[in-house]
């Protein structure tokens, strides 16, 4: 007990910072474009690479587009991809994990082999294939990233259920003749919330990083639409001429991932210290 308390010491500050940062990022994504009325797409090559000015608060990029407007639009895209891909991954993972953990027997065996298969595939190649198949848009990115990153959630949920199934209160409910579904909803689901939340907190950053990695390969959100990933990847070319183009999206990605991870750590510590040892790996 003391150990758990000990290692959460110093967390509140980090957690507060993380929450504030996430709040600001959300506001930025939701309200930003409404507050800052500059078109993120229209370009003007005569002012390409310009520094901050009254008309363009953070300057302009290589095509003369407003950097701040693009960061705001990009926040929307990147956070949407991060959140939705995570939701999809956790959704699929929870369903598969629940069916496997609750079904047991051969259902469990087959689902777990499929999970193993999904874990064994080099995710990047599959995502590339899927994206060349469907084209890159926010929708397809969410689908491709979500469909290739549910395995962690599935394993955690299944593991949790297998432990819970043997708990006395479940046994008791079963003995009382409570229908399976009811046991599921009433007794088991609430226990799944903490591990699922933890899995979710891993999903957001890894989806955001995946989008930026895909942007590097030209498969992320397609220009002229902005995402932090494609802004960062595009900025590589101008690293020496306009270094700030790489600075802003890089910092925002860093801040977001950092904040979500901090939030995840806090969730985990609050939920159950054991979970720490079962957390699945993310995507680089």
């Amino acid at each position: 007990m003391t150990g758990a308390a000990e290692h959460t010491r110093g967390r509140p500050l980090r957690l507060i910072v993380a929450l504030v940062a996430l709040g600001l990022l959300t506001v930025m994504a939701v309200a930003g474009p409404a507050l800052y009325h500059v078109d993120p797409i229209s370009m003007d090559l005569s002012i390409a690479g310009g520094g901050p000015s009254a008309a363009h608060l953070l300057g302009t990029d290589e095509s003369g587009r407003d950097v701040l407007a693009r960061l705001l639009a990009g926040a929307r895209v990147s956070l949407t991809v991060g959140m939705l891909a995570m939701c999809l991954a956790v959704g699929i993972g929870t369903v598969i994990g629940t069916v496997a953990g609750f079904g047991g027997g051969w259902v469990d065996a087959v689902l777990m082999r499929i999970t193993d298969a999904a874990l064994a595939v080099p995710v990047l190649f599959v995502v590339i294939l899927v994206l060349t198949f469907m084209g890159s848009s926010v929708f397809t990115l969410v689908a491709a990233i979500g469909a290739t990153s549910w395995m962690g959630a599935a394993r955690v949920v299944r593991g949790e259920l297998r432990v819970l199934r043997e708990e006395p209160f479940v046994e008791a409910a079963r003995a009382l003749g409570t229908p399976r579904i009811a046991i599921m909803v009433r007794h088991l689901l609430p226990h799944l919330v903490p591990p699922v939340l933890v899995a979710a907190s891993v999903g957001v950053p890894s989806a955001i990083l995946m989008e930026s990695a895909l942007s590097f390969l030209g498969l992320g959100v397609q220009p002229p639409a902005a995402s932090w990933g494609n802004m960062l990847s595009g900025a590589q070319t101008y690293l020496t001429s306009y270094p700030w183009l790489a600075l802003y999206p890089g910092l925002l990605i860093l801040l977001t991932v950092f904040a979500v991870n901090a939030l995840g750590d806090a969730l985990r510590a609050a939920a159950d210290p054991h979970l720490l040892t079962r957390r699945p790996g993310g995507v680089g």
Binding site: I41, T237, T240
Partner: protein, 516 residues
């Protein structure tokens, strides 16, 4: 620890042997066979390993390479080439007319895996006259023969490749090619590099460097970084990379016009773009000067028609480039029945808006920015283009080849010859814009059949004039290839990198004695 660290970090700068080794980038592992490998990586290396009968000089005119002289028959139906004597393959075997015949037998046979057949579709066959003389039999007079012989048609060794499909000669194609060029293969490291070494028995001038190393560096930003770090000597870059190489010590920037035209192709088989007036109007609506200055940073020439300025013998220099004249565009479109609606969008008599999808391949900032500029310029006169980026392979296969597109931003790289028969004659395989103009058909047919340079020039001038009234495509610009090179590297031919590699014996490094 300290010592090992300093040892590790200490030995820097030009590594041993670097002074005499020319290092160039490739974006992919090459296949050493010019007949079956059309990708850029293979083409670059094959230009060094496998000389052709002729090669282009700095004016892009064919000059002797493996052939020393040639003569067309009076009726233009055959060409006779006298080959260079005493040439040996890299393995020491003598080069002869049999090799030339073998190579063209393979080129003309699709089953061999040939990717050059359409270049030489006018060739009926090659006959051996004697061991150092060959005769090309043609199906019809074919003026572009010489430029094409100096383009991708490197000559292959019969004594090694005879008797099986070219695509099956894996050892030759991947590790042990044998050519007649100034450098021969030394070592191949898959995925990493191809090392060529000076061919002591090369028939031409002695090569200026001891080795050429082609390093596989697929990412252009990585290429730029390696050039700046002194690990590459010559790269070609995009305008976007200029900021990273300009003003950098030890790097200089060169530019050469190349035989390309970049254009927006409008599908003339669709009602929206079938009218020449509409295509002409759209041509006036795009501010090419702004694109050339902004997107290409000035590394481009403004276009008249589809024949680029690099072909100086044929480019119609008397006519000024197509002007930016949005008012003329509006007027012309109005005359074609497109008038602005309340929101400014042009509409036809049926009330349909002038709106279409403009396709562009993704991942290339120059093309993406050009597409955006075109979109904005057209928007100013009420024409609504929506940009759709697609992966190049899918774009070509699913949209361009079957002509299921409205507009596409793309480009043609052509041999150094004004012949554009395959692209713009009615019904040809490569006429993806479905352009059809009977006068142009006969001009382009006549142009490829006419040998006399003065007559030929007149024909292509007429073609370019015709393009002003009935533009087959909206030519955006003729790009110049931007080369970034180590300041130590000398003897770089004033040619695009591919053609420059036909003269690879000329590269050399400045003497270092005074500099260090």
């Amino acid at each position: 620890m300290c010592m090992s660290l300093s040892l590790l970090l200490g030995c820097t700068r030009a590594p041993a042997g670097g002074d005499d080794t020319l290092r160039l980038p490739l974006i992919n592992d090459p296949i050493f066979n010019p007949v079956i490998a059309p990708d850029i990586g293979s083409v670059m290396v094959n230009k060094v390993l496998f000389p052709g009968l002729v090669r282009p000089d700095e004016q892009l005119r064919p000059v002797p390479d493996l052939a020393v002289s040639w003569q067309a028959a009076a009726d233009g139906m055959s060409w006779t080439f006298v080959l260079r004597p005493n040439v040996t393959w890299h393995d020491g075997a003598p080069f002869s007319a049999r090799d030339v015949k073998f190579t063209f037998d393979q080129i003309l046979d699709l089953a061999s895996g040939s990717r050059l057949r359409s270049d030489f579709s006018a060739v009926d066959g090659v006959d051996i006259v004697d061991s150092l003389t060959v005769r090309f039999r043609l199906k019809a007079p074919f003026a572009p023969l010489l430029p094409l012989l100096g383009y991708n048609a490197g000559i292959l060794p019969e004594h090694i490749l005879k008797g099986r499909k070219l695509t099956d000669a894996v050892a030759f194609n991947r590790t042990t090619p044998v050519g007649t060029g100034p450098f021969r293969i030394e070592r191949v490291v898959p995925g990493a590099s191809v090392t060529l070494v000076r061919n002591a028995s090369y028939f031409g001038a002695a090569p200026g460097v001891a080795r050429m190393v082609f390093k596989v560096v697929p990412d252009i930003n990585a290429q730029v970084a390696q050039l700046r770090a002194g690990e590459l000597d010559l790269i070609t870059i995009e305008p976007a990379n200029l900021g990273s190489v300009e003003g950098v010590a030890g790097v200089r920037v060169l530019q050469v016009p190349v035989v390309q035209h970049w254009y927006v192709g409008f599908n003339a088989s669709t009602p929206m773009f079938s009218s020449p007036i509409v295509r002409r109007a759209l041509g006036f609506a795009v501010n090419r000067q702004a694109i050339a200055a902004g997107v290409l940073k000035g590394y481009a020439d403004l276009p008249g028609g589809t024949i680029p300025v690099a072909l100086r013998d044929f480019y119609d220099s008397a006519a000024a480039p197509v002007p930016y004249a949005p008012d003329s565009a509006r007027r012309l479109l109005a005359s074609a029945g497109w008038n602005p609606g309340p929101d400014g969008t042009l509409k036809n008599a049926k009330g349909e808006p002038f709106a279409f999808e403009l396709l562009v391949d993704k991942g290339n900032p120059t093309r993406e920015q050009s597409a955006l500029a075109v979109q904005q310029d057209l928007g100013k006169i009420g024409v609504r283009a929506t940009i759709r980026t697609m992966e190049f392979a899918a774009l070509v296969r699913d949209r361009v080849l079957p002509a299921t597109y409205a507009a596409v931003l793309i480009w043609w790289t052509t041999p150094p010859d004004p012949d554009q028969y395959a692209f713009y004659v009615t019904g040809q395989d490569n006429n993806h814009v479905k352009w059809s103009n009977r006068t142009a058909d006969s001009l382009l047919s006549l142009g490829r059949a006419t040998q006399d340079p003065i007559q030929r020039r007149a024909i292509y001038t007429a073609f370019q004039r015709l393009e002003r009234d009935d533009p087959p495509v909206l030519v955006l610009f003729y790009p110049r290839e931007i080369q970034a090179a180590s300041t130590r590297l000398e003897g770089i031919p004033a040619l695009g990198i591919r053609d420059a590699l036909r003269h690879s014996e000329r590269f050399r490094f400045a003497r270092q004695d005074t500099i260090r």
